[in-house]
Amino acid sequence: MYKNMFIIVLLAGLGILLGSFLLTHHANKALPELPAYYADKTASEVGAANVVTAVIVTYRGFDTLGEVTILFVAASLIAMFLKTSKAPKDRHPRPSSVILSTAQKLLFPLIVLFGVYVFTNGHLTPGGGFQGGAVIATGFLLLLMANPQAEFKHGLLNFIESISGTSYVIIGILGAILGLGFLDNRFMSLGELGTLFSAGAIPVIYSLIGLKVGAELSNILHHLNEVQNEA
């Protein structure tokens, strides 16, 4: 009883607070100080047409490094936990139909190509490394759907993942040595605003992140696929 009364009073108070906020709120059209700085200076300082990409990769580059590390730790933990369980190898999933396997042959290169487009054009259009990596992983998922017992080359995936992760950090250190600070993109030429080869090191960094995320997510999907039991 008292608990319900408490909840009702709490909700009413919250409603009055939010309602008074909504009634007295006036939209402020002018940008605050920090977003105004980003909107004005991105094109001249970093050379990227997409402001969000410039913020993610350059101004807040350290944050992105942390995100990549989190994903790496998650992938490693999943691999560790799923490797220890002795899964029965002789499972018999229902084979896929002819239409699905034909469509997989047709669509797999297209999906991987689209993923590459997403992460190489990250500084021009929406998208970037994480989205492109997820698209590539979806392509590998389609491969697993058409043939559930397909085997990826784990060595190759791990190689791509570790090489791209290491090069990402090396490029960051190069920025610290040749440019102004860690993950600075201006040690390569900025180029012309709006073209593919512009914005210094941003396309390179985003390509590396895309390859790393794609390899990690594909590895996770393959590990999940390996431990499926026969129902």
Binding site: S97, I99, L107
Partner: protein, 115 residues
């Protein structure tokens, strides 16, 4: 100029009507397989026409619109085929008015050949 934009908007409107009719079919049809029929065919055609209309209105967007159309045409039939096959294997009943079930016959034939 004006004529082209008018044509494009009418194409988009036809596509939207197809989408709405497809959604109506999803609600009204008697069993799952008929619903899949209307839900996939009509929705795919409606989406294709809508995006083609946008591409006609804005010729600079025609390239990207064409890519989206080709993707939708390639992917959507595959997913609905797989869903229909899975539902048939799951044993979801057909409506009482259905007269022919080729997939059942084919599976029975396969079983006979295995034995």
């Amino acid at each position: 100029m004006e004529i082209r934009m008018l044509i494009g908007s009418i194409v988009t409107l036809i596509g939207a009507i197809f989408i709405f009719l497809g959604a109506l079919g999803i609600v009204r049809m008697p069993d799952l397989y008929n619903r899949l029929q209307s839900g996939t065919k009509a929705s795919t055609l409606g989406t294709i026409l809508s995006i083609a209309g946008i591409g006609i209105i804005n010729p600079a967007w025609a390239g990207k619109a064409f890519i989206i159309i080709s993707f939708v045409m390639m992917t959507n039939p595959v997913s609905s085929h797989t869903l229909a096959r899975g539902a048939h294997h799951l044993g979801i009943p057909l409506s009482k008015k259905t007269v022919i079930d080729k997939l059942k016959e084919a599976e029975a034939n396969e079983k006979k050949e295995e034995q």
